[in-house]
Amino acid sequence: MAEIILRRWGGELAIAGAIALFLLPLLGIPGKTYLTLTIAGLAMGMLLFLVASGLSIIFGLMDVLNFAHGSLFAWGAYVGFTVFNLMMDWVEADSVLMNLGVFAIAIVIAMIAVAILGIILERVIVRRVYGNHLFQILITFGATIVLVELISVFWGPNDEVMTVPFTFRGNWDVMDVIVDRYRVICIVIGLLVYSVIKLILKKTKIGTIVRAGVENREMVQAMGHNIFLLFTGVFAVGAGLAALGGVAMSVFSLQVYPHMGSTYLLFAFIIVIIGGLGSVTGSLVGALIVGLSYNYVAYLVPWAAAGSNVIIMIVILLVRPTGLFPSGE
């Protein structure tokens, strides 16, 4: 009986449970602080979504668990960092347009550069190990070592400070609730990216083929579609999303460092396990859960923040081992 309910209403139950869970901190947090924390959590969740979605799509279509995803994220952050440094007068200018301009340029260049890196990675390394999970993890882990070391070679091994564009700094005070400006930008970026991905997957032919491929690669091939080209393309898109996440996250956390990828890769893993590997919507929901709970817990019990995600992941694994959403959604 319980199983039937779970199967039929599992998704709805999970959502209801999640909502209840997110109102629960209200017991321990004053209302206005709660709102501020919620915005911070949503912003963080959206940024994490950018990392996790690429990982999830790549797994869904190609059945490849890309351990190098975190280092692609770090590469994106460093390319963005370089663009910021080259255009520092735009970053420091007291002009929304110039600030947005440099931010957009940094994102575009980082996405293109890392997408190219992703294509090389897929063509040279990942392609050799399709169908073998163990070797995929090993080889992409090896790629991580190399990519992170290359960051040290090009940019040096130390932490670098990322400058926040001038008009992105500071807060808005909306009826006594402190709203960090950049966090709002992050939320907008996340929603935008999610909508675009969903639109492409739902409405375009290539998106439909990708969804078909997630279900049955062999059949998509037998219908005359070059699955390897599709793999490369999806890998490049996933890498690009990681880069976008890297740029946005480095501005958020005010720094870049060579090993930054591993921290966020870990978040991404937890998110895709919660949301369901291969599902974009699952990545979004998982990322928001992680982002919000991280911020609430960090306020209530600071030392337990990092652990709360792992606990949520374990609970999800116990209740619904395949994650909240089935792959391909």
């Binding site: 999970h133 163990l134 870990l266 990092a306 652990g307 792992v310």
Partner: protein, 362 residues
């Protein structure tokens, strides 16, 4: 005479060859060298290096039980290593006096704690898919580091815990001179750990050659087929994981005894320990057990002598820029080496050499 089954013939062949193969003498030679190290090269640096090679070789072997023999990649191996190290450190460092009993108790706690945690993690992740194991262990290992760092009242936090060995293993103990070398507690500790590691290694060898080990290899090679043959792959994988993790914890305990100090970074660190273990395992050869020795020796020797090598290169080959770059960027070289080995020599040094010899003798 009754016809022998292929398996029996294989075993006979194996036995017949055992004492004739050159690698048998190689093994005896390596073991002998390790036993003589404190007398041949009594400097702190060499003894420490030899001990760490031994410890890491066994750690890598325990990792190989899971990776090479079961096809399961764990990023939590460092955590189990750390659990063992911390158990010993708690018992003879932070919460107890150095006594033989507490030392044994520490090892026993390491064993039990590791077994319990390994069973829980296997249950959590194997229900889904074996690849989840890599992700979940990574997440849980990170959690372990955070806990060890943040719960500083209990674990000593980032400062770590210092410990001293009991009785004849204490650093201050001295049993006089023998062959011109002072026999200190360190020397006794060296032999204690060497013998323990040898014991663990033999247990692991027996494990992989047992019927159970063969089932695990069958699962690794073809999970569906093994399942179809009626093996509950889930349970066998769980057994292998638990065994490998318990071994890692015991090695961790031995490591703590040797270095006399544990902290989150050196005992639990995902990237510090896992990177080294993975590299050693891949370089030496997955699924060989002995690969750990080669991998650990290569990795630790180059790591220890890298600064010397860099100096040597600069002094003797001032114009060999490529050589300088290689040595300057050693981690990068290791990363590239790692990828190349996975692609071209997935069996590592030991496996490739074995293949080569097998081809030669045919």
């Amino acid at each position: 005479m009754a016809e022998k089954t292929p398996v029996q013939l294989f075993h006979l062949e194996d036995k017949r060859k055992r004492y004739r193969r050159s690698d048998f003498y190689l093994r005896i030679g390596v073991l002998g060298l390790l036993f003589l190290i404190p007398f041949l090269f009594p400097s702190y640096k060499t003894v420490d290096l030899a001990m760490k090679i031994v410890i890491y070789a066994v750690l890598v072997a325990s990792f190989d039980i899971m990776l090479g023999y079961t096809g399961i990649l764990s990023f939590g191996h460092g955590m189990f290593f750390g659990i063992g190290a911390y158990s010993v450190a708690f018992l003879i460092g932070k919460y107890g006096d150095p006594s033989y009993f507490n030392l044994m108790l520490g090892m026993a706690i390491a064993l039990l704690a590791a077994a319990a945690l390994a069973v829980i993690i296997s249950f959590l992740s194997l229900r889904v898919k074996a690849i989840f194991f890599a992700m979940i262990t990574l997440a849980i290992a990170e959690l372990a580091i955070v806990l060890a760092t943040k719960l500083s009242g209990f674990t000593g936090g980032e400062d770590g815990i210092s410990l001293s060995m009991p009785g004849i293993f204490a650093v201050s103990f001295s049993a006089g001179e023998f062959l011109g070398i002072e026999i200190t507690g360190r020397v006794f500790t060296y032999y204690l750990i060497l013998l323990s590691c040898l014991g663990l290694f033999i247990v692991m060898l027996r494990f992989t050659h047992s019927p159970l080990g063969r089932v695990l290899q069958a699962i690794r090679d073809n999970e569906q087929r093994a399942e179809a043959l009626g093996y509950k792959t889930f349970i066998f994988q769980g057994i292998s994981i638990t065994f490998g993790c318990v071994m890692a914890a015991l090695v961790g305990g031995l490591y703590a005894m040797w270095v006399g100090y544990v902290n989150p970074e050196s005992c639990l660190g995902v990237f510090e320990i896992m990177l080294a273990v993975l590299l050693m395992c891949i370089i030496g050869g997955m699924g060989t057990l002995y690969g750990g020795i080669v991998g650990a020796a290569f990795y630790l020797i180059t790591e220890t002598f890298l600064p010397d090598l860099q100096h040597l290169a600069r002094d003797f080959f001032p114009n060999a820029l490529f050589l300088h770059n290689v040595l300057e960027r050693w981690s990068l070289v290791l990363g590239v080496l790692f990828i190349l080995i996975v692609i071209f020599f997935p069996k590592g040094v030991i496996g490739s050499v074995r293949d080569y010899l097998a081809r030669g003798s045919r």
